[in-house]
Amino acid sequence: MEKYRIEPSKGMEFGLYSLGDHIPNPLTGERVSAEQRIKELIEASKLAEQAGIDVFGVGESHQTYFTTQAHTVVLGAIAQATSKIKITSSATVLSVSDPVRVYEDFSTIDLISGGRAEIVAGRGSRVGAYQLLGVDLQDYEEIFEEKLELLMKINEEESVTWQGEFRAPLQNAQILPQPKNGSLPIWRAVGGPPASAIKAGYMGIPMMLTTLGGPAINFKPSVDAYREAAERSGFDPATLPIATTSLFYVGDTTKEALQGMYPHINGGFQAIRGGGYPKQQFAQAPDTRDALMVGSTQEIIEKMLYQYELYGMQRFMAQVDFGGVPFEKIMKNIEIIGNDIIPAIKKYTAKS
């Protein structure tokens, strides 16, 4: 766990992440400018740090309704604006980038931040980036595996000699700058189903698993499959951290949380997936057993502890800004997370 800068004795980490989505606020129909959205993200990272949140992540999506296509640049600004919160991508679409450039970027962010940078590498759940950046979707599977292997090799070795199908070979290449402590925590972003979790396990790479909603138990097979594959591949699962992620909205009461979140989750799904969030399903969400993090403070705490028992993860990442959530609501969520949720979670999960 130390290799990934995780200290189980301090309890489960709580992080915030954003896709930098740029969707009109469904309640007003108004959309803030891209400039304001990005500045608010940087502001949110400062508030998150003050609230005692452990991690802040920004991801990339290359299409309409997003602003953080250049997520490494935004993470650089966050590195400068903060002093102790961990900084990660959520996720980096590695398939459309050169692993060497990705490593250079994140090593630099690591130096700017004093050793706080991490990479979460994924294939992207939207395919816009592939067309835009000239990557053939036919290679979707293979290109990612190859690039992730290279990224991990760069992280492990000072002088890299490598040959593959999708990039020019490297001959005793030094990838500079080096991160502050010689290596970066690199995670693999995994969608719900087990297939990708198994690949992460075989590689012996930490896994960030999306558990966006529906019964939490449905994601348990992915967690089990990951650890099983890691073990079969010769890794000790106890040394590999797991993070889970979910959409998140906390209110003073269940009703307030549901009323506060529904227009945003529904509008957000409509905009980026082309179909809204069914009310019937949303009405079930405050149940402890549902993975979607919506409810009163107490309900959220119970959900997180339930999931902790279920998955035994080391980190939970919350997406509080999806679907045009106005900044004052984001601030309120961060405040409740810091004041009430994190102390309760840490108390329960810290290993003395």
């Binding site: 395919v127 009323q259 979140m261 529904y262 949303f282 009405a283």
Partner: protein, 188 residues
């Protein structure tokens, strides 16, 4: 209410003839509803490559967006090699998971022989159920012998199409009422 009549093949005349009849019934019986006929023979569609449906251009975007905006879809399909044609399957592949949630889908099927009578039950309905459609249970099965020179000559088919159209519209109204009642129970 928006109703789409979808003729699911890019060749042949029987399914199109049946769907023209369906459109005709809809327009006469329900002039207040918005009816769109999508005959796949008129459009040049891309094969699904994993994009969201609204990220395509041209015909592919138009056809999928029209379907996604509908309250009801009456699918007309011929029977090719004991199944639905590839053109129709491509439509399903282009649409998202749960594409037919809160939509009513009913079926009209044409075939060269009565041996294909259960094709809809065994192959089309499972797809529609997976995509969360409210499926109208009965469907209209029309054989080669029911057609003569691009006209339906069996009166029974006319009556059955009439009932299918009516069932489709009433099912939309029924599910709208159910949804409204449910939504009233939620205070968000």
């Amino acid at each position: 209410m928006k109703i789409v009549a979808l003729a699911g093949s890019n060749v042949g005349s029987k399914t199109k003839t049946a769907m023209l009849k369906v459109t005709d019934i809809l327009e006469h019986k329900y002039p207040q509803h918005e009816v769109t006929l999508l005959d796949l023979a008129d459009y040049s569609l891309e094969f699904s490559d994993g994009r969201n449906y609204f990220e395509y251009d041209g015909d592919t975007k138009y056809v999928t967006e029209t379907i996604m905006a509908a309250d009801a879809i009456i699918i007309g399909t011929p029977t090719f090699q004991a199944s639905i044609p590839a053109t129709l399957k491509n439509i399903f592949d282009l649409l998202p998971v749960n594409a037919f949630r809160d939509k009513v889908v009913s079926n009209v099927v044409t075939a060269g022989t009565a041996k294909h009578y259960l094709m809809v039950e065994q192959q089309l309905k499972p797809i529609l159920a997976y995509m969360k459609a409210h499926i109208v249970p009965t469907y209209v099965f029309i054989e080669e012998k029911d057609f003569l020179r691009k006209e339906i000559v069996n009166d029974d088919i006319h009556f059955r199409l009439d009932r299918l159209v009516e069932d489709t519209v009433l099912t939309v109204e029924a599910f709208e009422a159910i949804r409204k009642k449910k939504d009233e129970e939620y205070d968000f």
